[in-house]
Symmetry: C2
DNA sequence: GAACAATAGTTTCAATTGAAACTAATTTCA
DNA sequence: TGAAATTAGTTTCAATTGAAACTATTGTTC
């Protein structure tokens, strides 16, 4: 039984979560960077737009756990690199509708199988039931 | 069954991990900041030194998943705030042995129960077996 | 319909972080 | 021994991030 006056970092859940995320995101970020020259925020924007084409930056933020500043910056980079198209919304000229350009779609088409394969490699470390528990537990921990 | 040409971010394991870690670390970081004026790197250094007194900065790094630059910065802040003592190692004058000062021990004594209580609140969201699976799964995902 | 509040998105400025270079001390080995 | 390599820890400089302020447009209310 653990000493209640002391904390053992390797068994401390928040630490362990952070270490796992660092490892998982770090490896993935390196591949996005090397193979597609994308950061994780840029990838998230593309992932959302691949799934939900023609939505506003705000809607991207809502679907990607990013705030509007992060989205604005990632969108600016993606547009600069030609991976996104932006058109003004006629009915509300504050909004801009975003979508993947041809080049963006081409990258998306190639990045999805890579990301899926990476995720499969992660799941391969767990049994089926463990994977289900993990996903549920992460949802529980994400709640405010 | 999911469309294989598209990724649904909320079901994508690396994303879900990152969101959970953001939530868990964010809430905890706020409490460290508000109640103790500590950042997470500073807390990690203190946690390691509370558990293993009188070790070098390098050993702190090895036990906290931080690199030597992060440790160096956190240690500098903690010393500036009087929470750490540092003394030169006689047998190897490159090394400096670190330990919690009286003020550091006082904070440590108060922060440990808070951190434990927070962790208990997290575990309360899960069943006992779920918690065990989660901890094992995080260890699996952390491996290179 | 004019004033005020709210929303979409961007920019600015400071703080944090990362990568590389740096200093100082120790170890290796010809 | 003494030159070269290694190790501990710090510093520097650029890139990234966060918080707050900002612009432009739309919605609300009197």
């Amino acid at each position: 039984m653990p000493d209640p006056d002391v904390i053992d970092l390797p068994n401390f859940l928040p630490y362990r979560l952070a270490v796992a995320t660092d490892a998982v995101s770090g490896r993935l970020a390196r591949r996005y960077r090397e193979e597609f020259d994308l950061s994780i925020p840029e990838w998230r924007v593309m992932a959302v737009l691949g799934r939900y084409p023609d939505i506003s930056a705000n809607e991207v933020a809502a679907r990607s756990a990013m705030d509007k500043v992060q989205v604005s910056r990632a969108v600016a980079l993606l547009i600069r690199n030609g991976h996104l198209d932006r058109r003004a919304d006629d009915t509300d000229r504050r909004r801009t509708m975003l979508s993947l350009s041809d080049s963006g779609q081409e990258i998306y088409r190639r990045i999805v199988p890579m990301a899926r394969a990476y995720e499969q490699d992660l799941f391969a470390r767990l049994s089926g039931p463990e994977a289900e528990v993990l996903m549920r537990a992460l949802a529980q921990l994400s709640q405010p």
